[in-house]
Assembly symmetry: C2
Homo-oligomer: 357 residues x 2
Amino acid sequence: MARPTLASLAAELGVSRQTISNVINSPDRVKPATLERVRAAIEAAGYRPSAAARQLRTRRSMNLGMRLMPATDGINGSILDRFLHALTESAQDAGYRLTLFCADSHEDEVLQYGELLNVAGIDAFILTSSSRNDVRTKWLQDNGTPFAVFGRPWETAPGDDAARHPWVDIDGAAGTAEAVTMLTAQGHTHIAFLGWQDGGPVGEDRQAGWERAMRALGAGQDISRLRASAPDTISGGISGGRELIARGATAIVCASDSLAIGAAESLRELRPELFSPGQPAGPGVRAAVVGFDDTPVAAALGLSSVAQPVEDAARHIVRLLTFELADRAGGSSAPEQHLLLAPHVVERVPLPLAPPR
Amino acid sequence: MARPTLASLAAELGVSRQTISNVINSPDRVKPATLERVRAAIEAAGYRPSAAARQLRTRRSMNLGMRLMPATDGINGSILDRFLHALTESAQDAGYRLTLFCADSHEDEVLQYGELLNVAGIDAFILTSSSRNDVRTKWLQDNGTPFAVFGRPWETAPGDDAARHPWVDIDGAAGTAEAVTMLTAQGHTHIAFLGWQDGGPVGEDRQAGWERAMRALGAGQDISRLRASAPDTISGGISGGRELIARGATAIVCASDSLAIGAAESLRELRPELFSPGQPAGPGVRAAVVGFDDTPVAAALGLSSVAQPVEDAARHIVRLLTFELADRAGGSSAPEQHLLLAPHVVERVPLPLAPPR
């Protein structure tokens, strides 16, 4: 049986749809006799006031929209899945749901915004994977749609319009700099950086942190020699690692865990003595490789890695959007519009090791 | 500036809200002069017919709802994240979005259904992690809400009502049985099973496949000796693996990749000769451990694992729901209401190995 609708119920009772809407949303406007009659009919018919009726009243669907990025090899993509979990939980705590959609590119994402706003009734968007001259932020700003970005606007010109929207990001450079500090404390002096071939601004940021730390150590002259790039895969990490070890590196900071898994393999292959259990303390006693994102794979392999506080980022994104959607009301103070969170290095002892008995 | 609403626009133009709705949705019911006047005003005001107005007309929000299970250690949870990606893409291809929510338990999930149907306007639900006497399926059936489950109804009584709803699952027992076959082909005869301490029906199913294959090999008398269980963690796998190796196992089929990572470590520790590169072919040349779910961690470690076709499952779930939501219309034939998909074993050579040059 078809569900009763506002229209079918109105026809049956001989009242207007507005009357039924008033019974549900503004009962004080309805005469007591009518109120009672319509309420009884609503109950008898099992009519369910639709989200639509509520939306007409509140103008809010309580739905935040986010594009789900394509599944990856499962190593580097896991950070965005963690972000998604944290975002869904934070949104729910604030009374919002998260609606997902797919797109092939930033341009395709923009093409879908209109339908998402008009048909799916999205209140605001969360953007990930920000890029230079991001077409998405421009469209949303022009359209007056509330949104917040997980990722900095990677603009070069200060004061650029794009930089004025709310964003949260994690300070990748601070993470790679901390990795250099940790390796220095282990006794390493020839610390290399293995980045992405097509790094983009995120990769450049991670490399910049390593460079800054190397200069601070007085190793500025080693920078061009101890820097390499590779495709973002385990085999990319193996070949990049070999290259850097051949140039004298004893430790490698990597732009991702995929690269770090490969780089650790190349160290295992070319410097197997670094991996013997029971070896005396000193340079190389640890794996001497640091990855990025602290993925489950890094944890399982015992690889050190830079951990991003994505849960904090998700919570702040929800704070930004709920403030905006509440029309900046209630006199509460605005959350920080641009927030750069600090990551930290998780230091691990690599496999294979005899596990504790 | 506040967005113009149906009400503000109606007041400004001196027409009813129904007239504006008709201009948008049923222009043939509106007098041409009025049509033109309202259309011009809509354009000038930048009024956006809300999703609400469309929903009142179509009675469909085109939103499917799914509870996002809590993030886990990132090893075993990754299978549900893969399912989520595939489901979002399949839903989008069919014109639907996926709306996520959180719940603490199946009971809490049920408590949220009402609000999700009434406020968020969800058309249908996708359930994961089915359990025995699942309270969720009973509620949804009683309420007449369309839904489909990723997971079998684990009922013992055949013909039970719960078994009548649509579901898709993956035949775990077939996967562990195939793992035994693969290890037998490698020359193993003492093949153990390491399961979950609190296995539930999914764990029991995986164990049943191993038992069936062992009996088929004439090794039925080994079953009680070569079976152990442990908490679903890497350290659980290490201790469970040690126990089984001490009882004579040379190969271990595991209920998860977490357990398999640990079991492989225990083999590495107690039977290091199995891991030397260049060893002649024969029993144990491979890691002799098979995990479950084919996670990124298993791939990175070179662990064999049972791969679940979750993308196929997601596509079929969308097929089931879109057929149901289209009111079984168009004379198209119904998709299979209960579908059990076959997994397959991905065979790998374990790390550490000298990678190919």
